[in-house]
Symmetry: C2
Subunit: 307 residues, 2 copies
C-alpha cells in the first residue's frame, strides 16, 4: 500500500519544514552504530513527519480531529497550526497537564474524555462527523507511515549504508515507512523493538497474522498498542525481518546512557532501539542504524525513573 516513492514524496513535502535531525555517533557505542535522534524533531518526536505529511494533503483550512495522549497530539496540533488547519484533539482527562498545555500551546482545541469509560475512537468518529473533520490517525494510514519513513531516508542519506536498521514499534507507522525505504536502499535487516510487556508485533509475526493483546503495562507509554494496524501490518509483515523486545529496566539503562554519554533526552519509548543494541539483543554485526523516536519526558518523571 505504500512504496519508496511515497517516502520520497513525503520528503519533498517536509523539506524545510521538519528539522533534518542530525546523525549522531558515539565512541562509547562503537564506530559501527549511527543514531537518528528524532527527539530533536519539532514537537519532540518523529510524529511531526507523518502528521504534517497527512494534513498537507487536505484542503487549507480543513478541520482535523486526532486522539492521543502523547506525541501524536502535539504533532497534529503543530502541523495544523503551520498548515492553517483547525485541530481538535481528544485527550484523556488524566493526561499530564504539561502535554495538554503543550498541545493547546500549538493552537489546538483540546477535548478531554474519561479513558476508563469512554471509547476514544467512537468519540473521535462522532466528533469528526459533527465538525465535518478528517481524522488524523496516529499510525494506520499510508500518508502517516510515508511521512515517518523520511526519518530512515535521511539517516541513510546522511550516514551512508547500514546493514541493520533498528526501529521502535508501537502501532507500526514508523517501522512501516522506514522499512519501505530502507529495503529499497539496500538495508539487509530491519529489526523492530517492542517493550517486553507489549509484544503484539512479535506475536503477530510468529503467527503470520495480526494478534491482539491486552494493553501492556510498560514505562514505554508511546508503545502501549494492543495490535498492529492494518496498513502497517501489510507493510511490516512483508518487510520487517525480526521483532525483539526489551524490559523496562533495559529501557531505563538506555535512557541513563543517552543522558550521560550522548547528552540526549530520550523518552522510554524512544530508547527501546538503543536498549536492544546496547544489551546485545540486536547483534553487533555490520553497521547499525538506530532510530531514536522521541524525547518527551518531563524532568521530574525522568528523575523518578533513573533514581
Amino acid at each position: 500500500m505504500i512504496g519508496p516513492e511515497d517516502i520520497r514524496a513525503a520528503a519533498r513535502v517536509l523539506d524545510g519544514v521538519a528539522h533534518r535531525t542530525p546523525v549522531i555517533t558515539s565512541r562509547t557505542l562503537g564506530d559501527g552504530v549511527v543514531l537518528k535522534p528524532e527527539n530533536l524533531q519539532r514537537g519532540g518526536a518523529f510524529k511531526f513527519r507523518g502528521a504534517y505529511n497527512k494534513i498537507s494533503s487536505l484542503p487549507r483550512g480543513a478541520r482535523v480531529v486526532a486522539f492521543s495522549s502523547g506525541n501524536h497530539a502535539q504533532a497534529v496540533a503543530l502541523a495544523s497550526s503551520l498548515l492553517g488547519a483547525q485541530a481538535t484533539i481528544l485527550m484523556p482527562e488524566d493526561a499530564p497537564e504539561s502535554k495538554v498545555a503543550a498541545t493547546r500551546g500549538y493552537g489546538a482545541e483540546v477535548i478531554t474524555y474519561d479513558r476508563y469509560t469512554g471509547d476514544r475512537e467512537a468519540i473521535a468518529a462522532r466528533l469528526a462527523e459533527e465538525l465535518s473533520a478528517e481524522i488524523v490517525p496516529p499510525y494506520d494510514d499510508p500518508l502517516i507511515a510515508a511521512g515517518q519513513g523520511t526519518a530512515a531516508l535521511e539517516l541513510l542519506e546522511d550516514a551512508g549504508a547500514v546493514d541493520t536498521l533498528v526501529v521502535p514499534v508501537g502501532g507500526g507507522g514508523l517501522i512501516a515507512g522506514c522499512a519501505t525505504i530502507a529495503k529499497e536502499l539496500g538495508v539487509r535487516r530491519v529489526v523492530g523493538v517492542e517493550p517486553e510487556a507489549g509484544d503484539d508485533w512479535q506475536q503477530s509475526l510468529a503467527a503470520g497474522e495480526i494478534v491482539s493483546i491486552d494493553v501492556p503495562r510498560t514505562i514505554a507509554d508511546g508503545l502501549q498498542t494492543h495490535a498492529p494496524g492494518v496498513v502497517t501490518w501489510e507493510v511490516g509483515s512483508r518487510l520487517v525481518d525480526e521483532i525483539v523486545t526489551v524490559t523496562d529496566e533495559q529501557i531505563v539503562d538506555a535512557m541513563r546512557f543517552a543522558f550521560e554519554r550522548l547528552k540526549l533526552v530520550i523518552e522510554p519509548s524512544g530508547a527501546v532501539g538503543l536498549a536492544a543494541v546496547r544489551e546485545g539483543i540486536v547483534p553487533r554485526e555490520g553497521r547499525i542504524g538506530i532510530v531514536i523516536s522521541g524525547g518527551n519526558v518531563g524532568a521530574a518523571r525522568f528523575a523518578e525513573l533513573i533514581a
Copy 2:
C-alpha cells in the same frame, strides 16, 4: 595574539575529527535564536576543539600534562589518544569517580592531588619537567583559544549571520576564539555570560584591567575561575562588548528548559548563555546565537539540581 586566520587554520585541523555539531532552533525560544550545542561534541564539551588543536601541533608521541577536574581533562585525554600523545592528567583526589573513570577510559594516566593543600599548577609544572612533557593549559593559550573559536565559525557558517553572539565565560578561551572570528564575520555584539558569584570578567572589563576574585561558589563548576587569562584577556578586552551574569537558579531553570523542550542535556556551565537570553538579561534584539558549551552532568546530579 590570535586572529581570524588562526581560527580558520584550527577548523582545517579539526575537520573530520571534531563533530560538526548541528545548529538547533526552537519555536519556544523564538525564530531569532539559534543554538550551537557543544554538549554534543566529542567528550561532551567544546574543550575537545582546543585540546586537539593544541596537541596536534606537538610531535607525534609527545607527552602532555594537564590539570583539570572536568571537561578539559577528558578533552586532553581523548585528543591525546587520537593523536598518539601520552597524556598525564592531574585531578583532585575528590573528583567524581565518573570523571576519573572517563578520563582513564580515554587512555590517560590520572594522578590525583589534594585540592585543599596542593598547588596544582606547581605540581603540574614539576610533573611536566620530570616527564619532559608539554603542559596543555585549559584556556590561556593561543592554539587552545583558536580551537574553541571554531564553534562560532561553524555556527555562523551553518546558521547564517547573527547580530549577537552569547558565550559562556570561565577562563575565556571559548569567548576569545569565538569573538575573534565573530567580529571578522560581522557579528555586532559579543556578550559573555558568567555566574553571578564569579564575575571576574565583568569586574575586569569595568576596571579596564585583570581583576582577580576568590574562587566563586556556584553550581557552574566549569566557570569557577578567579581571573581572566593573559592571552584571553588580551583578546576579550578588545572584542567582548559586554559581560552579564546569571544566578544559579536561572541556570537550573535553563537546564530544565533544555531538558524538556530541547531534549538536550546541558551542564550548569553550559546553560549560562541560554539562561541569560531566556531571562531577558541579553535583550531579544535581532538574531541571537548562543553557544551551549557542554553537557557533562551525571543523571543523579541533574535529578538533584532540578528537584
